[in-house]
């Protein structure tokens, strides 16, 4: 960023939760002042700070276009993607940036995502074909628009973790499998090419599976990709109930 501070520019105050575990006892807030333009995102503000004010500020980012899912952070207490949130929606008020809630802080705005990633892996997030996978020479798997519609929305997840930091149940007990993992289960179970439902339903049927959810719905509010994990979870509750009934009749 070539921008330099000049006195005539509009300014905006930004407060960042800093934490370097090797030297800080606990996280603390640090104030910054940056020049403000209407087209600046929170991520650009952070980059300005890193380039011009304090190079030790740590944060994650990559794509700058809401697709890699790495720039999640709390903006005034609300989970957001830094590259999708604009300063103009907060100006002239001060903005407070903190690491994503419900995750341990690794450094400043960088959090430890291991638990989240493990959960995504656990649900087998890939198509499990019924028969041997077929060679491409035999042609592709065909799907009707209707079959696609059944899961498409749930496949839009970018694994940003915003829904986990919005979820009060995950906050209370992080054994809960959580919104994105459940949405991803719905994504694969509802895919006509997949035959792995039975395996994934074992995860869904647990207390810490779909039943850890009390339908708060904040996950769907904060999701930047319109995945609506809360809806996926409600669908899975119905599926789990059916599975329970069937389970009663066959041991």
């Amino acid at each position: 960023m070539s921008k330099k501070l000049t006195p005539s520019e509009k300014r905006l105050e930004i407060e960042i939760l800093r934490y370097h575990p090797e030297q800080d006892e606990e996280p603390y807030l640090q104030q910054f002042e940056i020049p403000y333009t209407t087209d600046m995102t929170i991520l650009e503000a952070l980059q300005f700070i890193k380039d011009h004010l304090d190079s030790t500020v740590s944060f994650r980012w990559s794509c700058r276009m809401a697709i890699c899912g790495s720039c999640g952070l709390m903006v005034n207490g609300v989970p957001k993607l830094g590259c999708k949130a604009f300063l103009r929606d907060y100006y002239p008020n001060k903005i407070t940036l903190e690491a994503l809630a419900n995750f341990p802080i690794e450094r400043d705005l960088v959090v430890v995502m291991d638990d989240f990633i493990n959960k995504l892996e656990e649900i087998k997030p890939y198509l499990i074909p019924e028969k041997e996978p077929q060679f491409l020479t035999k042609g592709t798997y065909q799907q009707t628009p209707e079959q696609l519609e059944k899961f498409k929305q749930y496949s839009m997840c970018i694994n940003c973790g915003l829904c986990y930091s919005a979820c009060p149940q995950y906050a209370l007990d992080n054994k809960f499998i959580g919104p994105a993992a459940l949405a991803l289960i719905a994504r694969y179970n509802r895919d006509s090419r997949d035959a792995g439902s039975a395996e994934r339903m074992k995860i869904v049927n647990q207390e810490v599976g779909v039943w850890g959810c009390t339908f708060v719905g904040y996950c769907s509010v904060v999701c930047p990709k319109g995945v609506d994990p809360a809806a996926a979870i409600q669908l899975l509750k119905v599926e789990s109930s059916k599975d329970y009934l069937i389970g009663m009749f066959k041991p």
């Binding site: 656990e122 009060p168 209370l172 074992k202 995860i203 049927n205 647990q206 207390e207 599976g209 039943w211 009390t214 509750k237 789990s240 109930s241 329970y244 009934l245 389970g247």
Partner: protein, 127 residues
């Protein structure tokens, strides 16, 4: 490469309680406004004669098997709904001690009152 022990998954019995909760919630959502309309507005305003809901009428309704069944459903399901909600709200409020006792007390209460209403109705029916 790390080889993990295959994880053991324990099935939750929540579908039973969630089913009752859902049914009770639906019933409450539909019936409460009607009840308020009847007893809070239409009868006091004289649009419906108070006689329409007097003791004899209600008693004879309760004495029919379908009337008794309807009353049992109207009392029991919202009760299961309410206690399910209380049980989960305790968790949300951070009351972590004695979860299994909380469960026994909450659902036990719903069960006991359901049985109580059931016997009461049975008594009226066989009277």
């Amino acid at each position: 490469m790390i080889f993990k022990q295959p994880k053991k998954y324990i099935r939750s019995h929540e579908p039973v309680f969630w089913g009752l909760f859902g049914a009770g919630g639906m019933l409450t959502a539909f019936l409460t406004p009607i009840m308020i309309l009847l007893t809070g507005l239409l009868i006091p305003l004289g649009i419906i004669e108070p006689e329409a809901l007097n003791y004899e009428k209600l008693h004879s309704f309760t004495s029919s098997w379908y009337g008794a069944a309807i009353i049992l459903i109207i009392v029991a399901l919202p009760l299961w709904h309410t206690l399910h909600r209380i049980f989960h709200s305790l968790h949300d409020l951070g009351v972590q001690r004695g979860r299994s006792w909380q469960q026994v007390i909450c659902y036990g209460f719903a069960f006991a009152v359901s049985v109580f209403v059931f016997t009461l109705l049975l008594q009226i029916l066989t009277m």
